[in-house]
Symmetry: C2
Subunit: 105 residues, 2 copies
């Protein structure tokens, strides 16, 4: 098997998303959480902060930061607000057609 035959993670996910209705529902419903995860991870790593340090800055806890960065759960608006208070981050959300999207910039 050639290395070029390997599928990317995105390809594997997309394939299962098309075949498995239940998987698609769960995957799509957590899309927003994953978008937030990327923002948080980027912010933290760019500043060389540990999860514990970011937790202390925001008033959250290290396990809460970890859960956010893993995109496991859909954060509360209150939690997002706490993140923005101490970091200068901001989130622009579009809630429409039954879904929540993170708007860039």
């Amino acid at each position: 098997m050639k290395l070029s035959d390997l599928k990317t993670v995105d390809q594997l996910i997309e394939e299962r998303r098309e075949k498995d209705a239940e998987f698609r529902e769960i995957w799509d419903s957590t899309a927003f959480a994953r978008q937030v995860a990327i923002i948080v991870v980027r912010y933290r790593t760019e500043r060389g902060l540990s999860q514990r340090e970011l937790a202390r800055l925001t008033g959250l806890q290290q396990p809460a930061i970890a859960r956010l960065e893993n995109g496991e759960t859909e954060p509360r608006l209150q939690t997002l607000a706490k993140l923005t208070a101490a970091t200068g981050l901001s989130f622009h959300l579009d809630v429409a057609r039954g879904g929540v999207e993170l708007v860039p910039a």
Copy 2:
């Protein structure tokens, strides 16, 4: 006492907001909930719907609609999403500086 001496509700609220720190904190933290309330009430009344009818349309319950319209609680993103799925409504949110704001249009 003349009628013109009566203070508006907004005036009374603003006065207390300036004097009472605890009241100000609670009032400001529920600003977003009140903004959502106005949107929901307007949508429902413009179409002559009852709370029970809107509840059935959105998959929520009549008490949940009532709580939203009274601005009592900060709704979950999931709840806002349910509202938009069946109504065509959309919410644009700005989360920044520790607060949540509803962006017009």
